[in-house]
Structure formats: structure tokens, C-alpha cells
Symmetry: C2
DNA sequence: CTGTTAGCGCTTTCAA
DNA sequence: TTGAAAGCGCTAACAG
């Protein structure tokens, strides 16, 4: 039978309360007593029953998720994952509140963060905008003892407990490597298509992409990046213009949203003129395009994993426990048509 | 505040015991009473606190993991993950026993399964050998009400609750696609290097690889697969022989273990003669080779994820609850040197 | 500094 | 067929 606090108390010749104090590192225990208890713990191989502890604490973890009211597939999916997680979490003594804010609106985000802080939750997760005001608001949360997790998009500096998202520089590098290798033997320039170069993730992706192209494929021309504003129509126009200007355009790396437009433009091209296309986020549209050989690879971040990870990290932070590091690293999924989930 | 059994009891005008009987579908409750309770449950939106229930039941989930005493890096890592998970699990009312069996030994595996069954655990996870006797043993477990999860390597038929591992056909296809595309414009044959074609995973990987090569790159010659027996020295010799026989060998897909030997052989080749190499499992050796540009991509299955997933599935099966499907799909990770974790 | 005691939400005897 | 009461392993007042 597994030893319980009672066994420890008996073995150490102290009361339950004292055992509890030692176990939870609370003050008010003489050094000798503490040692006796700790000895008993190791002697009996005691492992605290977390479920029982939480039950006794009657503790309900409260977390606030702040999400941009963005209408692209990825954000819609992210929201759905948070909702689903919230439902399951309610059975595990966690209450998750979801707050919507207008997309790309620094002021609104800051207001939402302040608002969240007023409610004194155990933790806050949000899709960051990398601005000084946001950083300040995040630091306030931390100062108030509230765990802060950035989701999908990170904050510069260290004004957060954890970042649940992919390494965007690595993602850009990966895209560069795939583009370069898939194009071996084919001449022509490559177009980087951003959502907006104002957002940190997109800048980082471009940075990684450019770095690899320069290091590994120096002979390949990289066009100046254009911005599709995460909007299908704009993206489509940008691609059309690039194709018109460069008849030999042979590659596109799209690292923003609005890929429906890009795909429409590609679709109109005769097969043998189609560029190698690498883009981000697996959605209905990009999946179909991959299957139809309109695009060549999709780099993806798993929103479900990001949300679950954020919750685990917030919970661990709330009760000062540790997480399995490897489990919380968000992978850059590379999907070809052959390994689609 | 979340409603508890007390609230239900009060609302329905019955005692706790009766609520419990209804909640757990036990007999001995009049139909009218049952309905009153169920009504209260839905009216108050009651969700049973599983942790508290388990605490009261004093239930400890017992799971047995049967692992091959194999000395390759992957299996060593897998074992370490199980051990780590076992430690954490003991704090969550789960007791995980690890049993070692000689690798590739059907009889020993069957004996271990029977042995496990005798102990009547709640679930068993094991690295399957795809043989009729094993299938029969697994079916016995299921018949005894014990959940069965195959780990890393699956069993044909449906003699299991769940498979925690990658889709090996898809992995082979992915390797084929990468090989074909990375080689565009370069002539020469490609060598499939198996561990053993007796194991199902390896056969499936070869099958997927061959299929893609035939469909998409029909002009590319595929040599007859050779077996490295998961042994570095043998693999090295096989590669040497292939290189000697085919001076223009330009690609190798290695889908077994023992890659240290393969890498040694590659290392000796002048840079411009090196074939495109795709292999499985990220280990110290393969990681270094990737960084050093000796190989081109590593397909990987995350042992930690597989183990955690197996445990979640076993637990869910034990208490008849559902899992998050998407979370339990084991990904085929594609690692280039740019997205190494 | 240490111990006593009453729960947390649920299950489980044992009576009625 | 139903209910009262005692716990599961742990925590948290409140005394001492």
C-alpha cells in the first residue's frame, strides 16, 4: 500500500499538521522536526496524492484566455480548442474564462489584460502583440502573482512565465530549406509573402527564411517581401503582380494568413509554371491545396496542443509544481501530402 | 459554485446514497426516484468530480508496460520515458509496472502477456510483434476486461483498444516524397535499408516508400531492399556494398535502427558523392549527422508522447471516459537541421 | 513551534 | 428501496 500522510506522521512521531507544513514548505517548524519528517518521507517513499490535496484545498484554478476576434481559420480553430479545453477543465477544478478583443488592437489588449488582473485569476494566457504597453501590462500581472502565458505570438523581453507557441525563426529557416531544396535545378526568384511585417511572428519567419536562403542558396534571388494583410483578396493581388513582374517566379513562401487568395492565383497557372509554395497553418483550404498538388508543404502549429500546454503550464505555475519540459515544446509540424493527419 | 452531490440530493429530496446509486447506475432505486435525481442533475448542470470519486473509491489504476530489452537508442529512450511517466503517475493514483522481455521473441512476449493478465491490471501496453499467438494473447486480455494498447509497433486485426504509434505507411511515403524531391535533377538509384523485413513497421515503411517512388518518381531506380538487422556494423557493410556496386547511388532511405553504421559509411564519402539520406528516429548520433549535413532529414516518433498517450488512453478505458482524439494521434515528426528541438 | 479537528466531494457499509 | 454516517488522503483553521 502506498504510504499516506498518516504513515509519515507516525513514522516521524509528529502530527498530521506538522507533516503538512513540511510537505508544503510552510514556516513554523523546527529544523530537527523538519528533518525527521523529510527522513520519513524518503524512508517510506511517500508521494503526495495531488488529487486529494486539491480536493482538500477546495481550490478552483481560474484562468483567463484573451483571444483576438480574428476571422481567419487558425484563430477560429484556436478559439474552438480553448472552448473545448474549458469544458474538460471544469471537471478538473479549473474555470477558464474566454475574453475576446479586437485583433491587432494594442489598446484593447492592454485594457483586457488590466481587466483580467482586476479579477485576480491564477493565470492569464493571451495572444501577444509585441508592444511596450502590452509588456508593461504583462509585468503588472506577474507582479500581482498571476502567471502569464503568451499563446501563438510571443512578447519580447521576459515579461511572461512561458510562451506556448512555435519558434518562428526556426519555422522560417525550415521553409527556406525546403524551398531551396525543392527548387534545386530550377532557376528563378522566390517571393516572400507576409501577412504584416508589423507582427513579430511574421518578421521572425522572414528573418529565418532569408538567413537560410543566403547561407545555403546564395545564387537564388529573393524578391522584396510583400504584405497580403492576412486578407485573401490582397494576397491574391500581390501574387498576381509578382507573377506578372517575374515570369520566372519559381517559389513563394507565404507566412501569413489569407492563403485562399494565394491558392486561387496558383490554381490559374498552367501546371508546369507553378512555383514551389510553402505556407503556414493547416486548414481546410490549405489541406485541399496540398492534396491537389497546388502547394508543396504546410508548416503548422497545433492549436490544440498549444492550448493544452498553456493550461498545463498555468496550472503548474499556480501550484508551484514542475512541468515535463519536453511535453511543452510546441513543434513545427511539416506536412506534405503524404503525412497529413 | 459548481454543484455537488449534496446539491443534487437536496434538489431531488433524496439522500446522498441514492444520488450516488443513480449516478453510478446501480440497481435498487425506484424509477420515479431515479428520474427525480436525473432531473436535478441536468437542472443544476452537475458534473461529477472524478478526482474526488477516485479518492473515495480508493481506486488505484494498475497498468503493465511490456518493453523489449533492446539496446538501440530508441528503445532505451522509450524505457526512460515509461520510467519517468511511472514516477509521475504514482502521484495520480496510477501504478505502472514495467516488464522486460527479450526483443523479437514471440514466445517471451506471449508469456509476458499471460503473466500480466494473471495480475489483472486495468490495462496493458506493449510493443507488439505481429504474430498470431500474440494476437490471441491480446484477445484474451480484452476478453478479461483489460484494456490493451500497442506501443510503437501495432498488431494486425483489431485485437487492441488503441495503437499508440505512428502510421508507418505514411512515414514511408513521406520519406519517398522527400527523397524524390531532394534528388530532383540528380540521376542514380536509391537504396532502401531495412532493419528487418520480418517486422511489420519496417515492411509498412518500405511499402509506403515504394508506392510514392513508383507513383511520383517512376524514372528513379529503386534497388532491392537490404537488411541491416538494426545493427551498426551490418548496416555499414550493406551500405558499403551498395556503394561499391552502384557508383552513382544517390539516395538511401534507412528505416531501421543501427544508423551509426550508415553514418560512418557516409562520412567516408567525398562531399559531392554523398547520397541524400533519410532515416528514422532522432538520437544523439542522427542529430549530429543532421547538423553536420551528413544526412538530410530524420523522421521521428516522439517516445514521450507515445508513452503519455498510452497512459491517457489506458486510464480513459479503465474508467470508461473519452479521450481527446486529436491529442492521441502520434505525429510523424520531420526534422531538418533547421527545426531540431 | 506543534497538535486537534473539521471538512473537500464522493463512495460505501450497515441499518432501517 | 432508502438513509445515516464513516471514511479516502490531504489541508486549514484554531487552539495550545
Amino acid at each position: 500500500m502506498k504510504p499516506t500522510v498518516h504513515d509519515i506522521a507516525a513514522h516521524a512521531g509528529v502530527s498530521l499538521a506538522t507533516v503538512d507544513r513540511v510537505l508544503n514548505g510552510r514556516a513554523g517548524v523546527r529544523e530537527v522536526t523538519r528533518l525527521r519528517v523529510e527522513e520519513a518521507v524518503t524512508a517510506l517513499g511517500f508521494v503526495r496524492d495531488v488529487a486529494a490535496a486539491n480536493l482538500a484545498k477546495g481550490r478552483v484554478y481560474t484562468f483567463t484566455f484573451i483571444l483576438p476576434a480574428n476571422d481567419n481559420s487558425f484563430m477560429i480553430g484556436l478559439r474552438a480548442e480553448v472552448e473545448q479545453a474549458a469544458r474538460r477543465a471544469s471537471g478538473e477544478r479549473m474555470a477558464i474564462r474566454i475574453v475576446d478583443v479586437p485583433a491587432f488592437d494594442t489598446g484593447a489588449l492592454v485594457a483586457a489584460l488590466e481587466d483580467a488582473q482586476a479579477g485576480m485569476p491564477d493565470g492569464v494566457a493571451f495572444v501577444a502583440i509585441d508592444a511596450a504597453e502590452v509588456r508593461a501590462a504583462a509585468e503588472n500581472l506577474l507582479a500581482a502573482g498571476i502567471a502569464v502565458v503568451t499563446l501563438v505570438s510571443d512578447l519580447g523581453g521576459t515579461a511572461r512565465t512561458h510562451y506556448a507557441g512555435i519558434d518562428n525563426i526556426a519555422a522560417g529557416r525550415t521553409a527556406g530549406m525546403l524551398t531551396g531544396r525543392f527548387l534545386s535545378g530550377r532557376a528563378g526568384p522566390v517571393l516572400p509573402l507576409a501577412g504584416s511585417l508589423m507582427v513579430r511572428d511574421h518578421r521572425e519567419r522572414l528573418q529565418g527564411f532569408s538567413a537560410v536562403m543566403t547561407e545555403r542558396f546564395p545564387e537564388r534571388a529573393i524578391l522584396a517581401p510583400v504584405e497580403g494583410r492576412d486578407d485573401p483578396a490582397t494576397a491574391e493581388r500581390m501574387v498576381e503582380e509578382a507573377l506578372a513582374a517575374h515570369g520566372d517566379l519559381c517559389g513563394i513562401y507565404s507566412f501569413g494568413a489569407g492563403n485562399r487568395g494565394l491558392i486561387r492565383a496558383i490554381e490559374r497557372l498552367p501546371t508546369q509554371m507553378r512555383p514551389v509554395v510553402i505556407l503556414h497553418e493547416l486548414t481546410d483550404v490549405t489541406r485541399l491545396a496540398l492534396v491537389a498538388d497546388l502547394i508543396d508543404a504546410v508548416l503548422n502549429q497545433d492549436a490544440g496542443h498549444e492550448v493544452r500546454s498553456a493550461i498545463r503550464v498555468l496550472k503548474a505555475a499556480a501550484d508551484g509544481s514542475k512541468v515535463v519540459e519536453a511535453q511543452e515544446r510546441i513543434r513545427i509540424d511539416i506536412f506534405l501530402k503524404d503525412n497529413l493527419p
